[in-house]
């Protein structure tokens, strides 16, 4: 009886996850972003072979599973506003339901706006107890058995890894987003984020195994914009090279990187801070730094608020230098622009470092 009900639920679920009809046009003043998040293997690896995941037939490799580049698993997509003031936090987002069972939490990745709640529901006969020690939300829930639930609120943005105390192998990741403009990809890799105020944003991905992708995007008034994203290992330095990271204490480095100011900084450092500025690509670099400067400008304390914050000072300096670079480009003075960008890059690296120290 129960099995039949499950099968029926499965069929209904399949029906629901069939390709969605084009979404309704967004309301005036808002727009939507949708697309597919795909994954790209190393060059030299045959994507055809890896598509569909799969296993080896040899005994020693019986546990080995290929990364499925066709379906890399759930990816969280977040939109972080740039330029405008942050809207009020969502006051009444529906609870996100997570089912706890012997094989793990389902789904294994959820996005909750800051202040939102996750309801854990036990699905098998074994007891479960969710807990986390992530900085953004340390907690220990109630012990729940079949049919019972336990609800946890997530007030602060961050990445929260949740374990089951009675079976800590499987893991749940809760991405607590500062805004409600976030989504997790479905089984076919598609995502859609609607009702987003038109304007400039930074799109950022989160995947359990692949590095985040960050890209500036624009939400257009009254329509859906399709943005396909590719995740993978492209762009990581070779073993010989190192990243521009300063020493910090361990808990500091383990802290969430979903924080918007930090996200803008990493974005800027990643795209403009690591290499010598190429005079041929000065315009592109300036645009990236401008996005970073706007983002940082929004999240640093106001001029009269924390006068002593070196991070705030460097943030304003960065914004000023990017403006100077943009001026140089506008006047067609490439040398002036490159010089201003080099200075901006120094402020940017300084910012990055101070942020770690002050945060």
């Amino acid at each position: 009886m129960r099995r039949a009900a499950l099968a029926l639920a499965g069929i209904l679920l399949l029906a629901c996850s069939a390709p969605a009809p084009p979404p309704a046009p967004p309301a005036a003043g808002t727009g939507g972003i949708r697309g597919r998040v795909g994954a790209k293997p190393h060059e030299g690896v045959d994507a055809e072979d890896l598509g569909g995941g799969g296993r080896y037939s040899t005994h020693a490799l019986r546990d080995a599973r290929f990364v499925d580049y066709d379906r890399p698993g759930p990816v969280a997509v977040l939109l972080i506003p740039a330029g405008e003031s942050l809207p009020a936090a969502a006051t009444s987002s529906p609870d996100v339901e997570v089912r706890a069972r012997g094989t793990g939490f389902r789904p294994a990745l959820v996005v909750v706006p800051a202040g939102g709640r996750v309801r854990f529901a036990a699905e098998d006969d074994a007891p479960h107890r969710a807990y986390s020690w992530s900085d953004a939300r340390p907690f220990r829930g109630r012990t729940i058995a079949a049919g019972e639930t336990s609800t946890i609120r997530f007030p602060e943005p961050g990445v929260v890894r949740v374990f089951d105390e009675y079976d800590p192998r499987p893991e749940l990741t809760v991405i607590v987003a500062r805004t409600a403009w976030a989504a997790v990809t479905d089984d076919s890799g598609e995502y859609a984020i609607g009702d987003v105020p038109a304007g400039e944003y930074l799109l950022r991905t989160w995947h359990a195994r692949f590095p985040p992708v960050e890209m500036p995007i624009r939400v257009k008034d009254g329509r859906w914009t399709r943005i396909d994203v590719t995740i993978g290992v492209d762009g990581l330095p070779s073993a010989a090279a190192g990243g521009p990271v300063s020493a910090a204490s361990l808990p500091e480095l383990m802290r969430s990187e979903i924080d918007p100011a930090f996200t803008y900084l990493s974005f800027a450092v990643h795209h403009a801070g690591e290499e010598e500025i190429d005079p041929e690509r000065v315009g592109a670099t300036a645009r990236r730094l401008a996005v970073a400067a706007r983002g940082i400008g929004r999240f640093v304390p106001p001029r009269n608020g924390a006068e002593h914050s070196a991070f705030a000072r460097l943030g304003r300096e960065l914004a000023d230098r990017v403006t100077a670079a943009a001026g140089g480009i506008a006047r067609g003075n490439r040398r002036e622009a490159v010089r201003a960008l080099r200075l901006a890059r120094d402020s940017c690296l300084g910012c990055h470092e101070r942020y770690r120290e002050e945060k």
């Binding site: 546990d63 058995a145 079976d167 990271v245 480095l253």
Partner: protein, 232 residues
């Protein structure tokens, strides 16, 4: 029934190792160095009936590891010789072996491919981002880790290959495969933050002073503070 026993063990541990400095006898450490030792204990209740029936390989937080106890010097680290040895993380049967390693900042880790198939190792953790590319059986590639922190490593071909390298700020640390005793010798005297790091339990931190020629005893009870709550 197990819980009273665990409590008893912990009480005994606290009695044996009061958190106080005592002169150690026959100290062989350098004049300016002391030692820190103690116990890592895990205080969690016995899982309720029903949960024990599932797979025998289910890790039990009360008995599993690894746990690392380490020191961070307040006011900045002193110079120390980086160990010349290259610890190794092998790729065998499509697993990283071991899948957890604690090293000191500046140390190099060798990552040989001991399988018949091609592998890769990459990381995008803030302390060390790298991509070793694809490499075949018998080849060995190496990475130096200069910045302390947690580095998660992955293989871009195999989903089952996940590992973790904990890069520590100095050589004053102890790795425990399971809760139990630890001892860190040869610690230059001074103020430190004593910290724990565990894969699935929250870290503890405590400010301590290491005095020359003395052994400081510390009992570390995990999981420390985790607020219990529920909104229903």
């Amino acid at each position: 029934m197990k819980r009273p026993i665990l409590l008893l063990v912990m009480t005994a541990a606290v009695a044996l190792f009061p958190d106080a400095a005592v002169r150690s006898e026959g100290n062989a450490a350098r004049p300016a160095a002391g030692a820190v030792e103690g116990v890592v204990a895990v205080d969690l209740p016995e899982p309720p009936p029903g949960s024990a029936t599932r797979g025998a390989e289910r890790p039990d937080l009360r008995r599993s590891g690894p746990h690392v106890v380490y020191l961070e010097r307040i006011g900045g680290e002193l110079p120390f010789p980086v160990p010349e040895a290259h610890p190794s993380i092998s790729q065998r049967d499509a697993r990283f072996r071991p899948d957890f390693l604690a090293i000191v900042a500046g140390q190099t880790v060798d990552m040989p491919n001991d399988d018949d198939i091609t592998h890769n190792v990459f990381s995008y953790s803030p302390p060390r981002k790298f991509d070793l590319g694809l490499y075949p059986k018998g080849e060995k590639r190496s990475v130096t880790f200069d910045v302390p922190g947690v580095v998660n490593i992955y293989c871009s071909i195999h989903e089952s290959m996940n590992g973790q390298i904990l890069v520590l700020p100095n050589p004053h640390y102890a790795v425990l495969a399971a809760p139990g005793r630890w001892r860190i010798e040869d610690v230059p005297e001074g103020e430190y933050t004593l910290r724990t790091w565990s894969r699935r339990l929250p870290p503890l931190e405590r400010r301590i002073r290491v005095r020359a020629g003395e052994t400081l005893r510390q009992t570390l009870v995990l999981p420390g503070r985790l607020p219990e709550e529920d909104e229903e």
